[in-house]
Symmetry: C2
Subunit: 163 residues, 2 copies
Amino acid sequence: MSRLDVFINRMVSQRACLDFAIEQTRGMAGPVFELGLGNGRTFDHMRERMPERDVYVFERKVESNPASTPEPEMTILGDVRETLPQSLERFGPTAHLIHADLGGHNLEKNVQFAREISPLIEPMLAVGGIFVSSDRMFFTSLTELPLPADAIEGRCFIYRRDA
Amino acid sequence: MSRLDVFINRMVSQRACLDFAIEQTRGMAGPVFELGLGNGRTFDHMRERMPERDVYVFERKVESNPASTPEPEMTILGDVRETLPQSLERFGPTAHLIHADLGGHNLEKNVQFAREISPLIEPMLAVGGIFVSSDRMFFTSLTELPLPADAIEGRCFIYRRDA
Ligand SMILES: C[S@@+](CC[C@H](N)C(=O)[O-])C[C@H]1O[C@@H](n2cnc3c(N)ncnc32)[C@H](O)[C@@H]1O
Ligand code: NI
Ligand code: NI
């Protein structure tokens, strides 16, 4: 596999998981959270396929393409290790879709970071809410779901709060 | 279409066109040219699927991922408007596969640039050689080919020297 193949697999998987989560949570009230804006491509996808829902973006430093930069009032600036606990106080356990793509190039660091933020994300999901991630997470109360068609094993992960 | 959709279409088209060109030119002698290194993903794809061929990379400023950075002797540093004419003197009309992904975000500038470099690329291709591009080009002696399955109209272009 070339780096081009790996990259395409990752993007296609991300889209398949997002589309699955969007369908599964259609009609649920409460906010949607995008953790990590980056270029803004997945944010653009989420707001386009869910125009009826509020998509808040958590980001340390906004450097997205101008075509997909969120409104200031939808941007939650800062390190997610601080902004997630603050947002739990603000929103309560109401999120019905959270997407995280926070990882960098260092695999070991990504695992460590996933361990760190798993307990911060877990309480934010409403019952029936879905969490989509590029990294394997360390949850104690969420159920890992099988991936939809088109998604590639190990490239994305889906979790749901069942109760 | 979200920016994620557009991006996936572009990457998938690029790969489909490259794979088609690699198959069509299999067994031909002469160098392969990658115009524009960027992150190095398509370069990585080309060298992985053509380990038997010499892939030279034309780039102004190397900023690729270390996992896909070409050897110094395979890197032709500088503005392609200067390095293409120099390489024509060095290699003659021997290239059998050239891939260009030089465009930026400004569509109008991309068209202007494609006009400028078309006459510089055209004489470098050997008979039977194929040129794959993310932009429509302005050639006078090359034949535009239909796209392979998986490639999306308008996202990539394929040209061949027939004589
Ligand atoms: C890989 S990019 C996201 C790409 C995005 N999914 C897209 O499609 O364009 C990761 C982003 O997460 C952000 N990030 C990483 N760690 C963070 C942290 N601890 N707090 C807030 N943002 C963080 C980075 O600044 C970067 O913009
Ligand atoms: Ni490989
Ligand atoms: Ni659109």
